[in-house]
Each structure stands twice: as C-alpha cells, then as structure tokens.
Symmetry: C2
Subunit: 310 residues, 2 copies
C-alpha cells in the first residue's frame, strides 16, 4: 500500500485528505500547531494547551465514523455570547487534560472519530509564528499575519518560530517512512511554511526516499502572497525546504469572470502557472472545482497525486 504524508494545515489540507482517503493508501497528516486565533487561540491562552484547530480539521477529514455523529460534534461551533468555541477543539482540550498530553489526546480523538490514517502535530513545542515585513517590522502571532494586522501591501520578508521548535518524532517518522510527501496547498506563510520551520522537518525531507511534491495554491492571498505567480510560491517553498521539492503540481484552469470578481473584492488573484526551471517534474492540469468557490477539486487533485510515479 502506498504511504503518503501530507504536510500543511487549514482548508487546503482538509480538502486534499478528503480526496486521498478515497484511495487504498496509508495516510499521515503532519500539521502545524502554531495557530493563535479564534477558538484554538482562546483555548491555548486559557488552558495552556497546544492549538487544536488544524489537527481537528484533519481528523474530521479522515473520519470514517459511519453514523457521522462524531464528525458533526467535532465540527459544531457554539454561537452563544460566552461560548464561541468549536466543540471538537473543546473535546481535544478536555482530552489533553484527561490524558495528560497533547499527542495522546489527538490519538484518543482519532479513535473516537474512527480516523483512517494518523494526524500528528509537526511539533509539541508551544510556539508562535512571527513575520518580518519588508520594512523590518515584526509581526507576532499567526492570527496577526493570517488576518493581517499589518499593512497588507508590505511583503513578508521572512517568517520564523518564536521560540525555536523541535519536530515531534512521529512527524519525522511519517516523512521518513513515506513513498510520497505532499506539501500544500494552503496559506503559504501561515499554514504550510510553519511546518518547515520546525527543526528536523527539512532534514527529514532531504533524507527521506519519498518523492516530495508541492501543490501550488490557485489564488493569491492578500497580505501574504500579493502578486505571486507559481514560480514565486515555488521559490519560497524551495528556500524554506532547502530545495527539497522534487515535483510540483500546478493548476492551469482560470477562474470564471464571476469567481474573479468575487475574489478580486478580497484582493485575491489567479496564480499564473509559470514554470520554475530547476525542477525535474512539473504536472500542469485543470485541478479546479468551481461550483462554489474557485479552489482545488479534492478528487481531481488526489487523482493527479496518485498518478505520480514513485
């Protein structure tokens, strides 16, 4: 059975896992835990647990719980005045307190959700994501970069973790024991690169015999990747991964006029699939599901990934 490790966090990874789990593969998801906003951020502040949000979404994506009730509970979000937390995040927080540590809590949650595969945090260290902008301004905290509390016109010069973090051993094992490692899609600086900043992850990517694939985003994100074309995304990923990428997957389909307009209102634009010269392999294809939002179609993307020769 093909062993695939996905590296990321956020909607892109959720979507990708939904596609890949349809195949007869052994799946691991290595997920950043540097979230500092929303329900995850509140629980992190109040209970000193690692932020559960990104891991929770991957668990839900890989859940095979037939009755579906656990998936629904894990995704439920209270809308009350005092109670705005996501239920899955609360359960993972409670499990962390009950079992005594975060990875055991994630494993217990995986058991409840009857998860196919495994979801592991990239690091167990309590870290914050920081960005240095082109004007040398420092932005502290993932949420302040993600939902820009800085001038979104300024380029992100670099991101780093504060303090330094070391990789969780199961994240390293997953990368080492895979046939294929898929990085992205997802927010470049706030979902994808944070995984690469964890000490040990890039080393594993360089050493593993797995083919390392990067799935480029299809739209830019204002305040993160303004005006980026595919080659800009690839340049950044290669820089942070120490040139570990073997294969790139690019989308060629352009958004409809309607999609373009709707994204344009958020200063988000189509990522042009200009090819970077240094890569051995590039797959270009129509990867889009444009029925609701212009984004990767989980089936099309999973199919392309499954066709990569290892």
């Amino acid at each position: 059975m093909k062993k695939i490790t996905v590296i990321g966090g956020g909607t892109g990874t959720y979507n990708l896992l939904l596609g890949l789990k349809q195949y007869d593969v052994s799946l691991s998801a290595v997920v950043t835990a540097a979230d500092s906003g929303g329900s995850s951020g509140r629980l992190r502040d109040e209970f000193g647990v690692l932020p559960p949000g990104d891991l929770r979404r991957c668990l839900v994506a890989l859940s095979e719980n037939r009755g579906d009730i656990w998936r629904q509970i894990f995704e439920y979000r209270f809308e009350g005045e005092n109670e705005k937390n996501n239920m899955g995040n609360l359960i993972i927080t409670a499990l962390t307190k009950i079992t005594g540590d975060f990875p055991t809590a994630i494993e217990a949650a995986a058991e409840l959700l009857e998860v196919k595969g495994q979801v592991v945090p990239a690091t167990l260290d309590n870290v914050h994501l920081c960005a240095e902008l082109e004007n040398h301004q420092l932005v502290y905290g993932e949420t302040n970069i993600d939902i820009p509390k800085h001038n979104p016109e300024l380029k992100i010069k670099r991101v780093f973790l504060e303090p330094k973090a070391f990789a969780y051993k199961k994240a390293i094992s997953a990368i080492m024991n895979s046939d294929l490692v898929v990085i992205g899609p997802g927010d470049l600086y706030t979902s994808i690169i944070p995984n690469l900043l964890v000490e040990g992850v890039v080393a594993a990517l360089k050493v593993t015999e797995a083919k390392v694939v990067y799935v480029c985003n299809v739209m830019t994100k204002y305040g993160e990747t303004n005006n980026f074309s595919a080659s800009d995304f690839i340049k950044e990923i290669q820089r942070y991964s120490n040139q570990a990428i073997d294969h790139v997957i690019l989308n060629t389909k352009r958004p409809s006029e309607e999609s373009s307009q709707s994204y344009g209102q958020e200063n988000s634009f189509f990522v042009k699939p200009d090819v970077s010269g240094d890569l051995k392999h590039v797959t270009k294809a129509d990867l889009i599901n444009d029925s609701i939002l212009f984004r990767h179609d989980s089936k099309k993307l999973a199919k392309i990934i499954m066709e990569i020769k290892i």
Copy 2:
C-alpha cells in the same frame, strides 16, 4: 428479565443505577429536567436547551464504554476563567442543536456512551421549579431552593412547576412497562418530587402494575428537610404521588460520631427510620457505605431492591 424504572435525579439516582446495572435487568431512568443552576443552568439560559446535567449523570452511570474515555469526557469540567462548563453538558447541548431536539440528543449521547438501558427526561417542557415556604414566600428556580437563597429555617409548604408540564411519552411507557419502579433516594423537593409534578407521571404510577418502591434518604438536608424522619419523607412522597407507594426501603444504620459531626456542620442529620403505618411493606436494613461519606451503598441498596418480590 426484570424491568426496573428509577425515578429521580442527582447523586442518589446515579449511585442507585451504578448498583442496579450490575444485575441482569432492563433499566430505565426517568429524570427531572428542572435544573436551573451551575453548568446546566448556564447552558439553559444561553442556548435555550433543557438542562442536561441530571440526565448526563445517569447516562454516565449506565455507560458500559470499555475504554472509559467517553465517561471521562462526559464528566470533565473545565476550570478556566471563561469556561466552567461540564463537557458532557456541552456535548448534549451541541447534540440538541445538531439533531434538532433534546430526546434525540440524549439518545445519541447514550449511543456514544454505550449506555445499558435508557435515560429519559420526565418532561420535554421547559419548566422551572418553584417553592412556597411556610411564610407564603415564593422561591423561583431549582437552584434557589437547592442551595437555599431563602431562610433555610422556614419549611417548604409545597413545590410546583411553572408553567405546568406534561410527561414525555417515553417516561410514561417506562413506568407502565416496568415490574418495579424505584423512587429516590435524592433531594426530596429538588430531585425527586419534581418528577411527580409532571402531569401524567402520578397517573402512570397509580395505573401501572409495577410495584412502586420508595427509597428514603439517610440524612436530612438543611433548607429542604430539616428535622425530617422517615415518616415525614414518606408522608410527602405519598402526598405528591397520590398514595402510589407500595413499599418503602429504610436504612437503620446510624452514622459514626465522625460522620455525624461532619454532617452536623451543614445542619444535616440522620433520618430516623420510624415506620409509617399505612404501608403494606417496609424493608429496614443497614444500607450504608460509610467509607467516604455516610450515604447509600450502591451494592447493598441494589441487592435489597432486587430481593423485592414482584
């Protein structure tokens, strides 16, 4: 298989269910949902759901979930500044929103916890418990009676529900289809009698062919049952149940000096097992577990109940 329905709420019922579930019996718990304090009360106020606390405790008592992780999650209580809710109550609240109604939520929770038997609310109506004191003062809300926000020296003249509530059909079915109905033990006015106030419950108790047993409390509760002996408890239960009780179980063992002192600090005293004359059957026995608190021993109590001829 003997069919037993337990009527109550609170620790007494929890304890009794732990004992009875060791036997090969078909168990139902009919539980009041008039709670207005603590985590249940907050969720009730904020989300308009029925108060889940008493039902949750019965579900946990009847859980046969081997790994025990669900029991632990359902009993977990957050200790944060903003987050003081019980996790089981939150899950039942979320399930109520997801499934659309309270009894379906309780059934879903029962499935998750692998509950032996069933736990049903006495009523699905949104009611509050009220008390009239001997000085005609009205006290509104279960929590204000339970943790007296009134002069605890004043006797409770009567309790009633506001507005009037009708029995949930599954509560009636449980009573009708049982061989044995066990009322109590538990706080007389705040856990036990509220069930009898629901329109239809007393009628069912009068009509059912089940033997109806009352388990008398072993200690009085300050502000509720000051100076009550067993005959006072029985008198009140007979009054609210329209003389439906066939059989009474009384404890004879007195508390140790140490227990007496510790309860005495809370103005709580031993309930003397003086027998009421009108009853056909009274069982008197040592029913106590005095190892931690002076209260019913779940094994001893269950054994006595199982020995009652039906």
